[in-house]
């Protein structure tokens, strides 16, 4: 847990983003790990509101095959 110290800032708040585009592969990929899992906000520093919006966006992106549900090469 001592890996990352220092105050984390929510990227979305910083850039004044109020809606997260579920068709934007780059944003969705940035906040998922290589297995396709959503990275917890304790790691990314997102605020609760934006993490909630991001989660919705990622899940919509999964339906539209913009991001994967799970990595193909698992095990």
């Amino acid at each position: 847990m001592a890996v990352m110290r220092g105050k984390k800032i929510c990227r979305f708040c910083e850039n004044k983003i109020t809606m997260i585009n579920y068709k934007d592969e780059r944003i969705l990929k940035r906040f998922t790990n290589e297995r396709g899992k959503i990275i917890p906000r304790r790691v990314t520093g997102n605020c609760a509101m934006h993490q909630r919006k991001l989660t919705t966006a990622i899940k919509r992106g999964r339906v539209l095959a913009i991001v994967a549900f799970a990595a193909e090469s698992y095990r």
């Binding site: 220092g6 585009n21 934007d24 940035r30 790990n33 290589e34 539209l64």
Partner: protein, 188 residues
Amino acid sequence: MRVYETTFIINPQSDDATIEKHVSDVKEMILKTDGKIISENHMGTRRLAYEIDKLTQGYYATFLYEAPTDILPLLDHHFKVNEAFIRDLTVRIECDPQEYLKQQDPFGKHGSDRPDDSRRGHRGDRGDRPAPGKPAEKSGEKPEVKEETAAVKTEEKTETAAVKTEAKAETSESDNASKEDKPQDDKE
């Protein structure tokens, strides 16, 4: 009347004219129910993140429109009956559609702020992962920890892209440190 956004994927193996026909069919359906198209975007053929019906690519198109709720079952049925549509998603837009459009940035118009993106794609196998055959039950927590370090690594990569943010974070950290000292002084 409500504002919806419908995005669908069409099988790209048919010819362009057929694909266009499918897209305009959807548009017509919306117009027929007294809907108003606010914006349409043909994103074109794109790689799918996972195979759907053995397809690896799909033709994406999206409509932002205002229509009565009756449109939903009609569209639903249309997508279900027509095999050319391999995926569809309709979401309700609860805010001002123009504001919504402003914040859209479909498929990387904001392209090359990270030139190292292509290198990032596949990092292959990491040697420090537990071997596939090994039982995970013995160390129930171990895979979770690995997961986290992997996540942190991804985060670090993003961090380097925004060195500015990091610098900011550091200064605010030192701010915090000095703040932490103060309350103790106050108590005494």
